[in-house]
């Protein structure tokens, strides 16, 4: 089971790998990383049946997280991937847009990793 993390900040990869090092070691969780919306879509096309959960930032150069969300929800119908949006701008506008496009969850930065861990475990079990 793979979790695709989409963020333009490359350090996110290191952070997640360290934050979830125990889960990764025990193969409880498996992470893949994309540093743009385009890259994320490319990854999903290549690993159509691997990605189950997507964690995406909203504010990215090029394709935004919301656009990515729209593409995923249109293109990948079966199985319906779980998409969780993460943003620093926890405003109503972004929240409503994300929910309208079918986001499964909406998290605000800074991410509470303990809570995220629980959520991921629940979603994937």
């Amino acid at each position: 089971m793979k979790i695709l993390v989409v963020d333009d900040e490359t350090d996110v990869k290191t952070l997640f790998e360290q934050r979830f090092r125990k889960e990764i070691k025990s193969q409880e969780l498996e992470f893949a990383f994309a540093f743009s919306g385009e890259e994320a879509l490319k990854f999903m096309n290549e690993h159509e049946h691997e990605a189950v959960l997507i964690l995406s930032d909203i504010n990215m150069p090029g394709m935004s997280g919301l656009e990515l969300l729209r593409h995923i929800k249109v293109k990948f119908e079966k199985p319906p991937p779980v998409v969780m949006m993460i943003t620093a701008y926890g405003d109503d506008e972004n929240y409503n847009a994300a929910m309208k496009l079918g986001a499964d969850d909406f998290l605000t930065k800074p991410v509470d990793f303990l809570a995220l861990k629980d959520k991921l475990k629940t979603k994937l079990s």
């Binding site: 900040e9 620093a88 701008y89 109503d92 930065k109």
Partner: protein, 706 residues
């Protein structure tokens, strides 16, 4: 046909004839005389008193026109008696006027004035303007005969204006003509000519032949005075021709004398004598004594100018006759002239003693005349002339003044309006300036707010990494430590402890920065809160406890007296409770900080300051309620007052700016008041005001519309 109706027809006929005769009395005196004569006969026959009197009145007027003054008086007296019986004031006033004319012609000027005065009184009482107009005219003529030119012109101008007011053009012509004569008599020939010509025009328009002839004669005579002989004769001859047709004997005689005068002046003595003698005959026939004497003197002068010793007896006779007449009619001017001519005759005849006595008489009379009349006449005329000019000027000035007054009025009004507009503009300008200052201030704050939000967002992400990695580091160090505990390595342990401590510091400061960023973001983020009915007093109380106990928890030494003054009538008000709560919390935190600072500050002075009691008061008021201040109706007021050190004027302007703080680094973000300001003004459309006195305290007031 019954007797009565026959009688009635007769009376009607007489009335009609009388009206006809009366209407043309001035324009066709001959026809009027014939008609009135027959009316008199008919009326006597049937004893119709009214008809008789009216006939006699018209007849009397016509007799005056024909210069038969005795006959005129007889007619008028008879008419007067009947009119008095009939109590016909209209007719009485006319009769009085005519009697006045008769007496004037006889030289009884006093009696003339009496009659005309009576006439004026009657007509004024009866409101008969037409008669009043002719009375004033005749009064003017009598005053002219008296030599009182000022009064003469006064009355003549009065008559003129009355005539114009009722469109009585006939009399307008007469008045103008006599005004011309007055100017003529003081040798202002230009003015005289001007008036005579105006009169002529009017008389021609009104078809007054008598008047037309008189005007022509006058114009001719003025020309002779101006030494324009041909024109003079031409005009006088024209007048003479009309006089002959109309039967105006007096006018005819006047014209003849005037023509004679021209001939005398041009040295044509024979022609002059011929015309003068013709005039003399007429004047003798109509009993014009004064006119007769004048012609006689003229003839005497004429003969003296062309002296023939053979004609001496005739010459003397003529002059003495003139003298006697002048004495008889008490015409001083004529008498004086007669004495002078006699002096000239005796001198020419070589009888010097007689001549000298005549000269003495002449000089004495001249002195008297000069003293009494001539000087007076000239002075009067000059005055009248000036009066007339002044009147004209006054009228021009009056009109100009009316215009000027209107202009002044208008400009005054405009000036006031401009002044008002100027004041309004000034008020608006100062209001605008104040608004602009406020706008600039809020604009500064708004852009700072936006900038803050931008910066906050940019910092948020790297800061998250710092915090996250420091947290991960902590985990890693803990893990390393637990692994190390198996293999004892003290040096490594020490290093790990240091790294751990450093990481703690990184985390601590990262969290601090994160708190600031959170505050900044809160500040910029549009509130997601919803307005709901909130018990304001309860809200204030809740945050009061929260802030007080929060502070007490941090600093046990902190203490302050809290006073609440809540308006129970406020009830529930629609506000965003979390936001308003934050504002109240902010204001309270500041208030407590202020009183605590003051308490802790060193006090150089002894006395009352040592008894400083920190006091924070929270007051709520519903504006317009019995407790609240009047004026604003339906508003909510929350004020937080402290008795701290107050805010120095130098920083007062900056207190609502973001990041402005007087607290030591790390103790305040400088966002509290800025955020509060935004919540009150933008979030609740209210006002956040501050009142402060350095050293005494500060009061923040929230005013919200309900």
């Amino acid at each position: 046909m019954t007797n009565n109706s026959h009688q009635k027809l007769l009376l009607d006929e007489i009335d009609i004839l009388n009206r006809e005769a009366w209407q043309k009395r001035m324009t066709d005196s001959n026809a009027a005389q014939t008609t009135s004569n027959s009316v008199i006969e008919k009326s006597r026959l049937i004893h119709y008193q009214k008809g008789l009197a009216e006939g006699l009145r018209t007849q009397g007027f016509c007799m005056i026109r024909l210069s038969f003054y005795n006959e005129a008086e007889a007619c008028l007296k008879e008419a007067l008696a009947i009119f008095e019986n009939l109590n016909d004031t209209y007719s009485i006033s006319s009769v009085y006027e005519y009697l006045g004319i008769v007496h004037r012609n006889w030289g009884n000027l006093g009696t003339s004035l009496e009659y005309i005065d009576k006439a004026i009184t009657l007509s004024q009482r009866a409101g008969n303007t037409e008669n009043e107009t002719t009375h004033y005219y005749q009064l003017g003529v009598t005053f002219r005969s008296l030599g009182n030119y000022e009064k003469a012109l006064d009355h003549l101008f009065k008559s003129l204006s009355l005539a114009r007011s009722i469109n009585f053009s006939l009399l307008e012509g007469y008045a103008i003509n006599v005004i011309g004569s007055v100017y003529f008599e003081v040798e202002d020939y230009e003015s005289a000519l001007d008036y005579y010509q105006q009169g002529l025009k009017l008389r021609r328009v009104s078809g007054d032949k008598w008047g037309e002839a008189g005007s022509l004669d006058n114009i001719g005579f003025v020309h002779s005075k101006m030494r324009k002989w041909e024109k003079a004769v031409e005009y006088c001859e024209q007048g003479l021709a009309i006089n002959k047709i109309t039967g105006d004997k007096k006018g005819e005689a006047n014209a003849l004398v005037h023509i004679a005068e021209v001939h005398k002046q041009t040295g044509n003595f024979k022609q002059a004598e011929h015309y003068a003698k013709e005039s003399l005959q007429i004047r003798q026939a109509v009993g014009d004594r004064k006119g007769e004497a004048e012609v006689l003197l003229f003839l005497s002068e004429l003969q003296l100018a062309n002296y023939d010793p053979a004609s001496m007896p005739l010459l003397l006779e003529e002059a003495i006759t003139a003298l006697k007449i002048a004495e008889e009619i008490k015409a001083t001017d004529l008498l004086s002239r007669a004495h002078f001519i006699l002096y000239d005759i005796y001198r020419t005849g070589g009888e010097f003693e007689l001549a000298l006595s005549q000269l003495e008489l002449h000089i004495n009379l001249e002195k008297q005349l000069h003293k009494d009349a001539i000087n007076q006449k000239i002075v009067n005329l000059q005055i009248s002339h000036r009066t007339e000019e002044a009147k004209k000027e006054a009228e021009i000035f009056r009109l100009r003044n009316v215009e000027l007054a209107a202009l002044y009025e208008e400009s005054n009004r405009q000036r006031q309006e401009i002044e008002l507009q100027k004041q309004q503009a000034e008020t608006t300008l100062s209001e605008l300036k104040a608004t602009q200052k406020q706008l600039i201030q809020s604009e500064k704050m708004a852009s700072l707010g936006e900038l803050t939000a931008g910066i906050a967002h940019e910092i948020q992400n790297p800061l998250n990494f710092v915090n996250n990695f420091s947290e991960v580091n902590t985990e890693l160090i803990e893990e390393l430590k637990s692994q190390n505990s198996k293999v004892k390595n003290e040096e490594q342990d020490e290093l790990l402890n240091d790294i751990f401590q450093n990481n703690e510091k990184i985390n601590h400061h990262g969290k601090r920065a994160d708190a600031i960023i959170k505050g900044m973001l809160q500040h910029s983020r549009s509130s997601s809160g919803v307005k709901e009915a909130t018990d304001i007093n309860a809200l204030c109380d809740e945050y009061l406890r929260l802030s007080y106990h929060g502070l007490r928890a941090k600093d046990k030494s902190f203490n302050a007296t809290i006073k609440t003054d809540f308006d129970a009538s406020i009830g529930n008000i629609n506000v965003i409770p979390q936001d308003l709560g934050r504002v109240i919390l902010n204001l309270l935190t500041n208030a407590f900080y202020a009183v605590d600072e003051k308490k802790k500050s060193p006090r150089p002075l002894k006395g009352s300051l040592d008894l400083y009691e920190p006091l924070v008061t929270v007051t709520t008021r519903r504006l317009g309620s019995p407790l609240g201040a009047g004026g604003l109706s339906g508003g909510l007021l929350i004020s937080v007052t402290d008795n701290g050190s107050g805010i120095p004027p130098s920083v007062l302007e900056k207190i609502f700016q973001p990041f402005f703080t007087t607290k030591p680094t790390g103790q305040g973000t400088g966002l509290g008041l800025s955020m509060s300001y935004d919540i009150v003004t933008k979030g609740h459309n209210g006002q956040l005001k501050v009142e402060t006195k350095e050293g005494e305290g500060t009061m923040f007031t929230i005013i919200l519309p309900i």
